[in-house]
């Protein structure tokens, strides 16, 4: 298709990973996005046809009726005031086109918005924060952040139903290859669903301006087959920290970190920031901004303002062995 070729021309290839980083809305990998893609193509086809006809007429008119050198400047062309038949024709035809589009639109709106979830659906709650995503799995008793694991199945039998809300300002959940976006609005519950057809990591963005670091409130939906998903969920349910008596844990529990973060089984029960119980199981930090490596984690903990200026985590600027202990402790929370 010419346009995807054009799109491909401008793409920069990133090596490795089954990561869907180039989030082309014309390459859907779930039903909502596919339905939206189909209606998109139909609309583009209709509008392109209209463009060719109308633009063709405009260009033809300009070229054909241009004043040419040698034209008699005093001879005015016939003064035509209008034509009722022509007006009627070019009123009725657009009305018909619009009716067709309305019908097609209505059908897709209903099929996506009022779809009933299949029985095996996973239910998630996503709560927007400035500038990270809180993700709760009520059926599993898990709370995590930013990286959302869901099961996939090529025949679409594995669906995930998301309940969206916000703890502060309006955000929007947009992972283009899975679905169109739905807003996260405080004091309001919104719903959307996805049924990934392929495994891999789907990248997305917050799509409603929410303040300073709106640009870096990224989403990662990790679609895995049922058994891998179950294994992940079970891992998340464990409270690793209770058996750990390292210096790092002691350091963590002595600092103000515990006021904002939760690590299951420790003194940290703060709800303001992301749940860190299984931080090391995530591939990125700072809502998808940087990869989760010890060096990056050290940089982040020491001075988050350097990495993500304006974010709501204060810079403790610890330095020294305490910082290294923290990093190794958090790095152990798989």
């Amino acid at each position: 298709m010419a346009s995807s070729g054009l799109l491909a021309f401008f793409q920069v290839q990133v090596p490795g990973a089954a990561e869907h980083r180039v989030t082309d809305i014309f390459k859907p990998l779930a039903t909502p996005a596919a339905a939206e893609r189909d209606v998109a193509w139909f609309t583009i086809a209709v509008t392109t046809l209209i463009f060719i006809v109308v633009a063709g007429l405009i260009v033809y008119t300009i070229v054909r009726f241009r004043r040419r050198p040698g034209d008699d400047l005093h001879q005015e062309p016939p003064q035509v005031y209008g034509s009722n038949q022509i007006e009627l024709a070019w009123t009725v035809i657009p009305i018909l086109i619009v009716f067709v589009l309305i019908g097609v639109t209505a059908r897709v709106v209903w099929s996506v918005e009022n779809a009933s979830p299949p029985p095996s659906t996973l239910h998630l709650k996503v709560i927007g924060h400035q500038w990270w995503w809180e993700v709760q799995y009520p059926d599993y008793g898990i709370t995590t952040a930013n990286e959302i694991h869901v099961p996939f199945s090529a025949d679409g039998k594995e669906a995930t139903y998301l309940e969206l809300s916000s703890a502060d300002v309006a955000h929007s959940f947009w992972v283009p290859q899975l679905s169109g976006k739905t807003d996260l609005i405080p004091n309001r519950l919104n719903y959307m669903w996805i049924d990934p057809r392929q495994g891999g990591v789907y990248v997305g963005n917050c799509a409603e301006y929410c303040g300073t670091q709106h640009a870096n409130m990224l989403l990662r939906v990790v679609a895995e087959d049922r058994s891998a998903f179950q294994a992940w969920a079970q891992g998340q349910q464990k409270a690793l920290a209770s058996s750990d008596v390292s210096a790092g844990r002691a350091a963590f529990e002595s600092l103000s970190c515990i006021n904002c973060h939760v690590i299951k089984g420790t003194k940290a029960i703060g709800k303001f920031g992301p749940d860190l119980s299984h931080l090391a199981s995530r591939s990125t930090l700072a809502a998808g901004m940087i990869t989760n490596t010890p060096e990056n984690l050290k940089k982040w903990i020491n001075d988050p303002q350097e990495v993500k200026p304006g974010c709501l985590m204060p810079s403790l600027k610890l330095g020294g062995p305490e910082l290294d202990q923290l990093v190794s402790y958090l790095g152990s929370l798989k």
């Binding site: 346009s3 799109l7 793409q11 920069v12 980083r21 180039v22 989030t23 082309d24 809305i25 909502p32 996005a33 339905a35 939206e36 209606v39 609309t43 463009f51 109308v54 007429l57 405009i58 260009v59 300009i62 009726f65 241009r66 004043r67 005015e76 062309p77 016939p78 003064q79 035509v80 005031y81 209008g82 034509s83 022509i86 009123t91 657009p94 619009v98 309305i102 639109t105 709106v109 209903w110 996506v112 918005e113 400035q130 502060d168 300002v169 929007s172 947009w174 283009p176 169109g180 976006k181 739905t182 004091n187 309001r188 997305g204 963005n205 799509a207 301006y209 709106h214 200026p309 304006g310």
Partner: protein, 561 residues
Amino acid sequence: MAAIDQPLPARPATIREEFSWSAGLYKWVATVDHKLLGLMYIVSALVFLVIAGIMAAVMRLQLAFPNGHIVAPDTYNRLFTMHGTTMVFFLGMPMVAGFSNYLIPLMIGARDMAFPRLNAFGFWMFLFGGILLYFSYIGGSGLTGAGSAPDVGWFAYAPLTEKPFSPGASTDYWILGIFTAGIGTIASAINVIATAISMRCPGMTLARMPVFVWVMVIDAWLILIAVPPLTAAQIMLAYDRFLGADFFNTQAGGSAVLWQHFFWIFGHPEVYILIFPAFAILSEVIPVFSRKPLFGRPAMVAAVIGIGFISLGVWAHHMFAVGMTAWSNTFFAASSMLVGIPTGIKIFNWTATMFGGKLRMDTPMLYCCAFLLQFLVAGLTGIMLAVSPFDWQLHDSYFVVAHFHFTLIGGAVFGIMAGLYYWFPKVSGRMYNERLAKWSFWSFVIGFNLTFIPLHFAGMLGMPRRIYTYPVGRGWEGYNLAASIGVIFQILAVGMFAWNVIYSCVKGKKAGDDPWDGWTLEWSTSSPPPEYNFEKVPVVRSGRPLWDLKHPQDPDWKFGQ
């Protein structure tokens, strides 16, 4: 002293006044003359255009490459807020007022607007509002920091704008600056409608009133009905921020979505308010440069009225992602597509005007032709956005940014440029340089399209709006670089236009009353018009009084026009 029965002494051939700076300044500050006020509106708007344009250039510099560091995140967020707010309220709206106020009395054979002092009041409210908004750079943030401009986006969604999330005074400047300017806008709208109803010269029935005036009158109606909702919402937000009210305080049960409804009940008609001057201008320029009357005049007027009405019922197409019911998402999709029908009819009628004519491709006409093609694209991407499921992907992405810049620059600004060049000889008494104008035009066309066509694709690849940077590997790099390069051509175009205006005002060839062989009443008086507009109030018998004069053998009124 002459005795009564003796002849008066001979008067000198010309009377030259001593030029005095204070007299000159006083004339402009205290004027109630619609022509001077109209000029002040337009010049102020162009100054704001340059300021907001520089902001855009900085943003495009930041986004030319991934991980841009030209400006800090907060600075960028202020840039897009101020860019949007300035362009809409301090470029678009004063252009509406400027063109209306300068041209309507001249076109209807009146000596001034219905309420000249209200006119002046409206202008100064607009200017003070703009100054107040920009004062935020010095005065914002209150005691907690140095000054800063609002950074909440031009539509200032709640609850981001509530005190907890926007401490300091920057949002308050947004509220007060626009509130003040809004009062001026409403005053101007009342004046326009009253003028068109009550001040037409003898013989000028509404049917014979120029289509330009019709369009600007309907524009004024839209302002009267659609601007108060914004004023109301801003009062409510001010109550929330200053008095602890709960209109949009979600913690107390308030609704963030209610702000969106109120804002867009204003915001959607607003964009029609902004495009109408271009519609009005094209309806005058295309006929004159095609040497044919406007095709389907009654249909054109009916179409504008239709657009005005329907535009009041489409607002929630800005809210398709908010989680409305399927019924709402379908209704607003339908109404949004319906508004495209009268709009399309206008494009067809302008084209039909040109069809069979003898097209003079001078700069005003070039801008009209570019408008037709660009606004067609804009309207069609608008249809795409109206299809709500398609919008669920495109909403809040660069596709929307591309769409509205096509309507606002490709449409409104290009139309306004046609008008500025067309009436420049009337206002200044001199012709601009046609060759430089054509260079400026082509630079603008190339630059504008190079910037905004690629951004459609960036949006379809998932690039959201209002992000101060983006990472490598999302596929957005090439499009953003192309877009940023286009800015260079646009800067050159604006520079050439500014130079053309300044130089021509001083050194341009004298234009005479009627350089374009036009047909409406403004071309019957001198260039520039005297303060009293017409020596004698004209009496008309058709919609093209000057055509009747120049063609006594086949005047319009013989054909019931």
